[in-house]
């Protein structure tokens, strides 16, 4: 249990990083698809 608690404590930052990853991912994805659409035009 102690080990799990320690690992959980070390990885708590992941919970804070999730919103950043979602927003950044959405922006990068829309940027890439926009570039692709521009190239096809």
């Amino acid at each position: 249990m102690l080990l799990y608690a320690h690992v959980g404590h070390q990885l708590i930052w992941l919970l804070y990083a999730i919103p950043v990853l979602i927003v950044s991912g959405a922006i990068v994805k829309s940027f890439i698809s926009q570039r692709r659409a521009e190239r096809q035009d």
Partner: protein
Amino acid sequence: MSFLPLAHALSAREDLPVPAWLFAWAASIVLIVSFFALAAGWRSPRYEELRERPLGEGLSRALLGLPAQIVCGLVGVFLLGVAVYAGLEGTAAPDRNFALTFLFVTCWLGFPFFSAILGDLFRPFNPWRAVGRAVGAGFGLIAGQRPAHLPYPEKLGRWPAAIGLLAVVWLEVIYGSGGVILEPETAAIATLFYTAYTLAMMGVFGVEKWCERGEVFSVYFGMFGRLGIFGTRDGRLERRRLFSAATSWATVPGSAAVVIASIATTSYDGASEGAFQDPMESVFEWIADAGIGLTASLRITETLFLLLCFGGVALVYLLGVRGMRTVPGAPSLSRLRSGFAHTLIPIALAYLVAHYFSLFVFQEQAQFTYLLSDPLGTGTTDLFGTASSGVDYTILSANAIWYVQVAALVVGHVIGLMLAHDRALVYWPDYRKATASQYWMLAVMVAFTCFGLYLLSVANG
């Protein structure tokens, strides 16, 4: 603020209704909703015009006239003198000596907090400016001419202030950490060195020029003052729209570095109490194993992490700027870099409030009671009959502190987003392109919000 024996929050939070990390998710949602609300309803710039409204001439004369300038200058010089004297002659106990709390809490935190509402409050009380102006006036009387100065190298911009800001925080949180407590005497000596340096620079480049560009405290407090509602123009007091003066702040090179240094130093102070502890210990052991003394190893480690914070905050901002550059019609990278730097000022303030609000509330009780009555902390004086007072730590609960921290971070970042959106409308008059450019700033704001909440959560938890 490691020289003081009290942390940012004194006890662990009681049970929150939801886990702390969910606040980061909720804050991100608030930012995303704000972003779309701005995109939908804000289609022309509103903050670029200052829309100043001059206040009454009598009021301006009373508050800005020569007698008021002399009184404020004397107050500033007197208080600086008391702090230096207390530092040199008072007790070595940091929490009982007037010097440390006055310099690093009352002034260092008080001026940003109140200037952000009322405008630059430090300028009239700036002791170095008062001395510099008095010396300049004396020189003019004796020599019959104005003192000549060297032209300030404009390329340097505010870089001396940015480096000075890092140096002040280094002294405050790194020199005085890990058992090597910053002694009041050291702070007093550093103040005397800084006074000599500042007066010399004022002599070389001129008082007002150095205050605008290189004097750390004028630049730093003045930056927050740009958010406030009062300002001066041509010797007249004026009322302006909240935040509007910030839009013209970052036109000088190095301004972005100042605001990034502000966010980075606050982040470092918070992270060193929690999030960075394990990696810092590893680096410290690695350096100490290389044969370097323990104190030096500790300072080198902490300096490296402070610089790492500066680099990290700068990188996030520059990534946002780089992203904006990809939007068709974008101005040059350097223009974008300086053009959006002012949007970080509310974030710097939010970080400051979130990290130090509780320290300020607690320590100001000491400042205005026992530190005022017994500035030297020797127990031999009781000037105002409050020398035996204490600090009431129950005035704020740990949960109340947490809610203030969350609110400060959310509000600060929403204001940052708003200022960025407004500036984008200047560079991209087509609001659709302006909105597209701001996706990148949204990511920057969400990153800073979540990072800030993570630091606070780990430090307070």
